[in-house]
Symmetry: D2
Subunit: 144 residues, 4 copies
């Protein structure tokens, strides 16, 4: 089972006047974690995947985060990310933000694979996930 891990140090600019991380910042961290997971799973960067499949990206359609323990400036945290579901044109990711051995935040997200509408490039719409993505994500979780 493949779980992507990355270490982060909480920065001064991530925190609010209460001295704890301003929660929208966590979503920026999770967005990058999803990208790093797909990177590690496919062996390709997001710009490579975008140009290879003429895609726009994998925008968020649904995300939920539960916050159990706050983090402060200079805290070191680890984000573990894993695919939990793959469908025809969308997939789910789960992130766990850990402080030491404790679960500080759990976030789940559903993203959709989109390309530009060939008739109106200002519009984007979902299309089936390329096989490369399906296989790469499937390999990250034997439960699939």
């Amino acid at each position: 089972m493949f779980i992507n891990q990355r270490k982060l140090t909480i920065e001064w600019g991530d925190c609010d006047p209460a001295g704890i991380v301003f929660y929208p910042r966590y979503f920026a961290m999770f967005d990058a974690s999803t990208m790093f997971l797909i990177n590690a799973a496919t062996g390709k960067t997001k710009p490579q995947l975008i140009s290879e499949y003429d895609a726009v990206g994998w925008p968020m359609v649904d995300t939920r985060a539960q916050f159990f323990i706050p983090s402060r400036f200079t805290d070191e945290v680890v984000i573990e990310s894993q695919a939990t579901e793959i469908r025809r044109s969308s997939f789910d990711i789960r992130h766990r933000l850990l402080k030491g051995s404790k679960l500080a935040i759990e976030c789940t997200e559903t993203r959709v694979w989109v390309t530009r509408d060939p008739e109106d490039p200002a519009k984007i719409h979902s299309v089936p996930l390329p096989d490369t993505m399906v296989e790469a994500l499937r390999a990250t979780n034997p439960a699939f």
Copy 2:
């Protein structure tokens, strides 16, 4: 029934290379909307509430957003915010981000009322909501 409304224009810096809003930015907008709702309901600013009740704020414990329609630079959107549940020391808010008459995003959140631990000011813990907050939020929704 009281619903707080505010208008926003999507900025260049809110958007990503796909040309649509980078979704963590929406959570920053919703955080401000919750603050404006509490402002409008209580008639007090967050700094006033914090100093009056020796509180730290109302950190997020659980939030979920569903994204139906993307927004782009210069789009004008409206965020409607409303309390949907009040408990002993926590409360729920629902935000609807509208583009014209269409629902673009729906976000729900649970926040908790916290003060500093008198024995260790570095720690924060939840306490019962002050009556002012309970009454003000209750007045925003006759269903309570």
Copy 3:
């Protein structure tokens, strides 16, 4: 002489653990102010200007800000923006952030007008400002 003015309320998420605005946030405010100034001067939105002139935008090449008075959550501030210089393919803007009658921040910036390189769309390069922009910005300052 044309000066664009806009009012802003400092948000919780703009501030850091010292309780004052995290200064990179001011640059995001000034970036939007430049866009609103160009909007007001030309009567066109940034997407309109970009598509009309096949431009990429007006990226920053040089900016300096001096911070005289800090601002806090819920403070109301005004940003006054004005063109101060126009050259062949670049222009200067000055922003003054005011708290009441006091100058809290002064920021100057030089931006360049860029389009995509027709031979390699991944590259951008500067080109002469379109006449519309020159006339519109010139009209904002009789000193030109």
Copy 4:
């Protein structure tokens, strides 16, 4: 001569619809770089320095950045940071953001050492730099 170096990978969320880094994001990177430089020079974290000297931090009073080469999503960059001047209660830092061997951005900044006003904790004012800071920063540059 001591120069603090750190490597960064440009993230999707750092970039704007033109596909290049939204420049206010660079200031957040430089702010963290100053913190890491002071960390490395003093051997103490910002929270340690703040509590040891009853300080509020080292807010920015003047910063200028010149942008020579844009950066894009997934670009790897290096930020080199160094003290360039130390005065009674303020100091200057220079950051160079490099792409390979090329200078992409040069940023200079002046920061001031501040504590809370003992008579009104809502106010902050500058005080002489602690000797620890002076010696640590001086050690980073033999030109002092």
